[in-house]
């Protein structure tokens, strides 16, 4: 475990170094990411201009939901960026060189390409949140801890979904679209899950638990969720993480059985 951490840190430091060397790219990407985040505010603004509430939430609540969405989404991209580069690794066969080494391949293939630009966006979001929250909400320590617990749960779900994508990659190779489908789906969670119709909410809670991943932590921060529900979410998160690992191990077996 300690070794994995050490090696993860190594990969991350290298990845950051490489990205930092590319200043033009940094500007372009930061601009693009921030622009995209900012543009959704136009949408929110539109909605609230006509209606006074969104799914029963006030404008400031909706904004918080959106900010937390971005925080969690950015963390996922920050940590798991390497998944986007999995296909070339598969196609070239370089994955073999990773599998023969005495280290869990996930360290390389899931976590090996931490994204520096997303780290910058993450930091910016933290700053914005630290300014926005105190002036609009009262966050007690219990709320905050509830949020932290669910944030960890979100990371587990995010990891699980990315690991599932990797596993699909090993089985079927063409996963680029799959990753983007994941991104499209998560974009639904820019607004609180309550807003969606019941069947969709069910899908997003129990099948692909994006609602658990994005909406619930924000609710916890606002004190809108009870502790039993927090624990239930944590259990769901852990459960899905565990399943994804099983799926991953299973797909590796298939890789060994049939690749040439």
């Amino acid at each position: 475990m300690k070794k994995s951490l050490k090696i993860w840190w190594f990969y991350t430091a290298n990845s950051f170094q490489q990205m930092a060397a590319n200043r033009v790219a940094m500007v372009i990407f930061l601009f693009g990411k921030i622009f995209r985040i900012a543009m959704f505010f136009v949408f929110l603004n539109l909605v609230f201009f006509s209606a006074k509430s969104l799914g029963g939430y006030t404008p400031s609540q909706a904004i918080l939901f959106y900010l937390i969405f971005n925080l969690i989404d950015t963390t996922g991209q920050l940590l798991f960026r390497e998944v986007y580069r999995f296909r070339p690794l598969l196609v070239s066969g370089d994955l073999d060189l990773i599998l023969v080494k005495p280290i869990n391949p996930l360290v390389r293939v899931l976590l090996g390409g931490a994204d520096l630009f997303d780290l910058v966006v993450f930091a910016a979001l933290l700053v914005i949140l630290l300014i926005y929250i105190p002036s609009n909400f009262i966050v007690t320590w219990p709320f905050f801890f509830g949020f932290l617990i669910l944030f960890v749960g979100s990371l587990l779900i995010s990891a699980a979904l990315h690991i599932a994508i990797l596993s699909f990659g090993i089985l079927f190779i063409s996963i680029d679209h799959l990753v983007m489908i994941y991104r499209d789906l998560t974009a639904l969670m820019r607004i609180p899950a309550d807003v969606y119709s019941a069947p969709l909410r069910f899908l997003l809670t129990f099948i692909i638990p994006l609602a658990v991943m994005f909406t619930l932590p924000a609710k916890a921060l606002m004190g809108l969720i009870t502790w039993p529900n927090i624990m239930l979410s944590l259990i769901i998160s852990y459960f899905i993480f565990h399943i994804s690992l099983i799926f991953w191990r299973w797909s590796l077996r298939f890789y060994g059985s049939a690749s040439s």
């Binding site: 590319n22 033009v24 790219a25 372009i28 990407f29 601009f31 693009g32 990411k33 622009f35 995209r36 543009m39 136009v42 949408f43 603004n45 539109l46 909605v47 201009f49 006509s50 209606a51 509430s53 969104l54 799914g55 029963g56 089985l171 079927f172 190779i173 063409s174 679209h177 799959l178 983007m180 489908i181 499209d184 789906l185 974009a187 639904l188 820019r190 607004i191 807003v195 969606y196 119709s197 969709l200 077996r253 298939f254 059985s257 049939a258």
Partner: protein, 267 residues
Amino acid sequence: MKKYLTVFHTSWQNEFTYRLNFILWRVRNILRILLTYFLWNGVFLQNNNIIAGFTKPQMLTYVFLVLLVQSIVLSAPSGDSIGGEIGSGELSNYLVKPVGYLRYWFTRDLSSKLLNILFSAGELSILYLLLKPQVILPSNLITILLFILILTLSSLIYFFLEVSTRFVAFWMPEFTWGFTFLTLVFIETLSGMIFPLSLFPPFLLFMVHLTPFPYLIYYPISVFVGTISGISALAVVAAMLFWLVVLYKLSKFIWSRGIRVYASEGR
């Protein structure tokens, strides 16, 4: 034990390798529109009235039309390949042959567009039956012709826009993805893919019209629906011609400069 696992998996994998890619691509296309629909559906669910002057059925129609226009205008495989070909040196293959590089990719785009339109027609029909948007086909012959003209112009604008962006690869092969990303973000947000641009606040509306993006999705839809007709329509066509010429010249210019810098690296 391993035997049947192997057989099972190998046939499974073989079944899916390339078919899956294709299916996923179609799925993603539909999903994006469906998700926008869900987004709006969710928003309207609570209110069931008017948001910024649009009723729910109207917004639904708009989303549906976005899918229609997008499948015709925004499909061009050249985008994915050109940067790579320049960066890897494969461009050299084309340069020694008596075929215009741009013309080559334009032709390929056309054929891919045809394929895309074919499949989109099917998907659109299914979605139409499922969602039942209130789409009123334009009855006026002039409107129809205008629509086709504008779609053509949009496609061309998109083509040269993409191509110009990709030609960045001549100088900075590592940045191709960066510019691609940026164009993607701009198209996502500024072309009218999520909501009609008329809903933009005035300042933003002004800024957006300094770019070619509104002409990709928003204006074609407006013409189809009839929001824009007559003189305003002509103004739109004029603006689009302007952008077309600009982007065409831009791509040619970048090409001529880039080809001199081209180092044929990688081979």
